[in-house]
């Protein structure tokens, strides 16, 4: 699939999820990162160049809504997009266990990158606790897996509808 429509869909869905999470649980919305989930979802199915570009855009959108210094999320998103796309070029990442591993590692890399940049660039940086990071990784991984499952279900339904329509056309 072309990555740019996926970028648009991912941006809209991630924004909606972020807004919904903020409205439902303002204190815990930061535990869920739909922008990095969207980045990984795009990157596992595309080449490194579009993947890192999508990661950049989604990371900046993450910065826009997270209140962190602008560019931290973009940096981490770019790196994660590139790494996941490179990883997906060499390995079969459609298996559920592999997908979970990819999502968890990618979120961990993103959080570590952001923490590292904050420590390097911000004198008053506050490093989140490892429990909070673990919760973020688990929640975002679950969201990403659900995202991929939904896409698979929709693709299957669309293929079925197309098959049904093609058979009807032949009968007519």
């Amino acid at each position: 699939m072309n990555p740019w429509p996926r970028l648009a869909v991912g941006l809209v869905l991630a924004t909606l999820i972020r807004a919904g999470a903020t409205a439902l649980a303002p204190g815990g919305a930061d535990l869920l990162d739909p922008f990095i989930a969207a980045t990984i979802w795009i990157a596992v199915a595309s080449r490194p160049l579009p993947a890192q570009t999508c990661g950049l855009v989604l990371g900046l959108a993450f910065d826009l809504f997270s209140g962190r210094p602008f560019g931290l999320g973009g940096f981490a998103g770019t790196l994660v997009g590139y790494l996941v796309a490179r990883f997906a070029q060499h390995l079969l990442v459609r298996q559920p266990r592999t997908l979970i591993l990819v999502f968890a590692l990618a979120v961990a890399v993103q959080r570590a990158t952001i923490a590292l940049l904050e420590v390097l660039l911000m004198p008053d940086a506050v490093i989140p606790s490892w429990q909070r990071v673990a919760l973020t990784i688990m929640a975002t991984t679950a969201l990403g897996i659900g995202w991929v499952r939904c896409e698979g279900w929709l693709t299957w339904r669309l293929a079925g509808w197309r098959r049904d329509r093609a058979s009807r056309l032949r009968l007519d």
């Binding site: 807004a19 490194p48 160049l49 890192q52 602008f70 560019g71």
Partner: protein, 283 residues
Amino acid sequence: VNPARRDRLVLILLLLGQFAMVSAQAERRQDALAERILMRALVPLASWVNEVAGLLSDIPGYLRTRSALAEENKQLRTALEQARALEAQLTVLRGEQARLRAVLDYRQSTAANVRIADVVFADYQSWLRTLIIRGAAGVRFEVGQPVVAPTGLVGRVVAVAGPWAKVQLVTDRAAAAGVQLARNRRQGVLRGSGSGALSLEYLARQADVEIGDLVQTAGIDGVYPRGLVVGVVSAVGASGDLFHNVEVTPLVDLSTLDQVLVLDRVEIPSILADSQTSGGEAP
């Protein structure tokens, strides 16, 4: 160009650019140019997100408000129904007060002993010729007692059964009363016609009678005391005989009676009653 090398080059450039942007932002604590540009591009989306978030966060409040309003509406409806019931009750009480005031005024204006009775049945099938009334506890009626309303004569008691009494209305075809014109004391006999109007009979042709003359009881029939208002003359015709042909309209609207006043019976000395019985038929 090797795609892998190109991708790595782009990656490094992007990372360096962003690192420079973040570090510059961290040092000067100012908004980055890229941030301003992206803000311009994403502000519509951000505002839309805020609106969506605001809408989502407003939903519980909206539901709570709606629930509270529904509850308040229910309470107000109940209060309104109670107020309406109270208003209806007040209207009934106001009417009852007016009636009682009229009764009180009448009692104060007459020397006769007056008892109040409720109308429990009206004979609509025969043009309101009779009523059934019921007195208060302990009150017993007698045949022949005059029955009046604050505005005029109603009839007389013709049958009694315990607390109930049957009243023959003045409009009954068989009812009669000795009356006089209030203006000149010309006397006659008032009879019911059965159709709601009254007929004044035996009023001599030379008597001065005009439409609008007030007709009242004359106290000559041994049933009704003198001075009870009956009605007004509504038509005067020449019958060609010795008497006027006069139609009288009752002042009491007999179709709306719900309470009446029962007066004590006029006591006629026994010697006069005997002579009256032997001398002729009482009206």
